[in-house]
Amino acid sequence: MARLARLQLSEEELEPMARELSAVLDHIAKIGELDLQDVAPTTHVVEVTDGLRADEPRASLPRELALAQAPAVSDEGFSVPSPQA
């Protein structure tokens, strides 16, 4: 699961994490008690109609600004280790 979440957990972190997560999952199991057949899921609580803005071209964040906080930059782009490495 940690790998799926792109998290590295040290040996010392694993045991308490597993213990704490099982306690929380035990509590979460409460939602299994309810009869929820024919209940629609809620994805958005307040009705939004016409949430779209006009589709007009506009300036985006300038490249220098977008790159200003990057840990590594090369060729006017974000620099990362090669995925094939």
């Binding site: 997560l21 999952l25 958005h44 307040v46 990362v80």
Partner: protein, 503 residues
């Protein structure tokens, strides 16, 4: 005006003094700036992670308001802002090591709206990392101390904002609430905190925790200030597709009576037992809550006992599926590529995956990792229906419960938090005990409805919060009722302002 007199002014009063010319904006800003700086970056109550420099007392060119507009209503009033709001070229770290020193290229809509009417950015306030916590102990920049008692937590996640307002280090503050993060710290610090209707305030520029729940709102000394700040916060923003035009102007409240108002007391959220073997709401909190209800009755309100929110006991469980699930996707952006921390795996220095996992290992704190794990699990294939799908259905039932309840009553009242401020370290070993702090606030979050916490008394010398909730977009009614009660309760928040003054 002496510094003590200046600190004694509410934000609304300070704005009035400035516009009438009896108080200079620069003087007001400097008094607060000096105080805030004494409680920043590990010193004092540790409320601030960044404080404005002396020069920023003056408006930046082009920042001030056009004369003759409605703008300028908050001219010169200093504003403390929770760290997770992006502020252009000002550190915005969301309480996390992974964003240490991050300088955003733009400012959050909520902040720019207040600045547009003249508010001045005083400082950025400490918070639980990515707003995950109820005690402010999950901040990478150290815990915030409660100005009522420095051995106690201020609540969270907007703990720095709440403690700063209570200690008179800022006239008011901007916070965010996902499951109680404005209301609970407001309650524990003896101030007012309002979570607006979901969508009332733009989320643009807020570093996201759980997008379907996050909402910005005011932390203030009194209800009038909460209304004043909210008035300038609400409105549709085309940068946030979930934001909505507020259907009416937010009025400054004036009610002194509650005649004809039906206040419902939900049995599920006001009992001595919260289930799960927890102790439920502690006796001192219930006493203060009951005393406030008697006051409300004297003001003409009708107290409707034992209304029901049958699914409220399941709200916390649903919340701890939905919020971590959304967090696990929102926090995927912190990978060491575009901003923030980057760490390579020393064993595989050229490895991309190793860079992701190492960066996140070093950059995130324990609670954030816990929630990412929980959320990733809840969204993983094979478990999605059992967790996320079910939790969304519970959410529907909770919203229906409130609908039904609001057919019988105008507003719903509960204690804001089950306990008064607890000791630092008391609940850090037991995440579930920490989560139970949000027992009374999470149901309103899931339903997207507005709720306000006002101080209603003391228990063991520590403040108790009263929560008042109403239907979506009922903020004006909520503020009127809170205002009437606030006047009748006469809570005195001034003692903590002494604690914010260095001896």
């Amino acid at each position: 005006m002496s510094a003590t007199d200046i600190i004694g002014l509410s934000a609304a009063e300070a704005a009035r003094e400035i516009s009438s010319g009896t108080l200079a904006a620069g003087e007001l800003f400097e008094v607060y700036r000096t105080r805030a700086a004494e409680h920043a970056c590990g010193a004092g109550l540790n409320c601030f992670t960044w404080v404005a420099s002396e020069a920023s007392a003056e408006p930046a060119p082009g920042e001030d308001v056009a004369p003759g507009t409605q703008g300028g209503a908050l001219r010169g009033v200093p504003l403390a802002v929770k760290d997770l709001f992006c502020t252009e070229n000002v550190p915005s770290q969301s309480g996390s090591r992974i964003l240490e020193g991050y300088l955003p290229p733009y400012t959050a809509t909520a902040v720019s709206r207040l600045r547009r009417v003249g508010a001045r950015l005083l400082g950025k306030t400490n918070q639980d990392e990515f707003a995950m916590g109820s005690s402010n102990e999950n901040s990478a920049y150290g815990p915030v101390l409660n100005p009522w008692n420095r051995e106690r937590v201020p609540g969270g996640s907007s703990g720095g904002s709440a403690a700063a307002v209570a200690a008179g280090l800022a006239p008011w503050a901007l916070g965010t609430d996902t499951g109680g993060s404005i209301r609970q710290p407001a309650a524990l610090c003896g101030i007012v905190g309002l979570k607006p209707t979901y969508g009332a305030v733009s989320r643009y520029g807020m570093i996201a925790f759980a997008s379907s729940l996050d909402q910005a709102g005011p932390l203030t000394r009194d209800v009038t200030d909460a209304a004043l700040m909210l008035r300038h916060l609400v409105g549709r923003d085309e940068c946030d597709a979930t934001s909505l035009a507020f259907p009416e102007e937010i009025e400054l409240p004036s009610a002194e009576r509650l005649d004809g108002i039906r206040l419902g007391v939900p049995e599920e959220l006001t009992g001595g037992s919260a289930g799960d073997g927890s102790e439920g709401i502690e006796a001192g909190v219930l006493d203060a809550f009951r005393a406030a209800l008697r006051r409300a009755e004297e003001l003409g309100a009708e107290i409707v006992e034992s209304i029901h929110l049958p699914h409220a006991p399941h709200a916390l469980a649903a919340y701890y599926v939905l919020a971590p699930a959304e967090a696990s996707s929102n926090l995927a952006r912190f990978d060491g590529v575009r901003y923030g921390l980057r760490k390579m795996d020393p064993a595989h220095p050229g490895d991309l995956l190793g860079m992701y996992t190492r960066t996140r290992h070093d950059g995130f704190g324990a609670e954030v990792k816990r929630r990412i794990m929980l959320g990733t699990y809840a969204l993983s294939s094979g478990y999605y229906d059992a967790y996320y799908g079910r939790a969304q259905r519970v959410r529907t039932k909770i919203a229906e419960d409130f609908h039904t309840a609001f057919d019988q009553v105008d507003l719903i009242v509960t204690p804001t938090a089950p306990t008064v401020a607890f000791k630092l370290g008391e609940k850090t070993e037991d995440p579930l005990a920490m989560y139970l702090n949000d027992y009374c606030t999470v149901p309103m979050s899931l339903a997207g409805i507005p709720a306000i916490s006002i101080p209603c008394g003391l228990s063991d010398g520590l403040p108790v919060g009263l929560q008042i909730a109403g239907p979506a977009f009922s903020e004006n009614r909520l503020l009127e009722a809170a205002h009437a009660l606030e006047r009748a309760l006469g809570f005195d928040g001034s003692p903590t302002r002494v604690n914010g003054t260095t001896a």
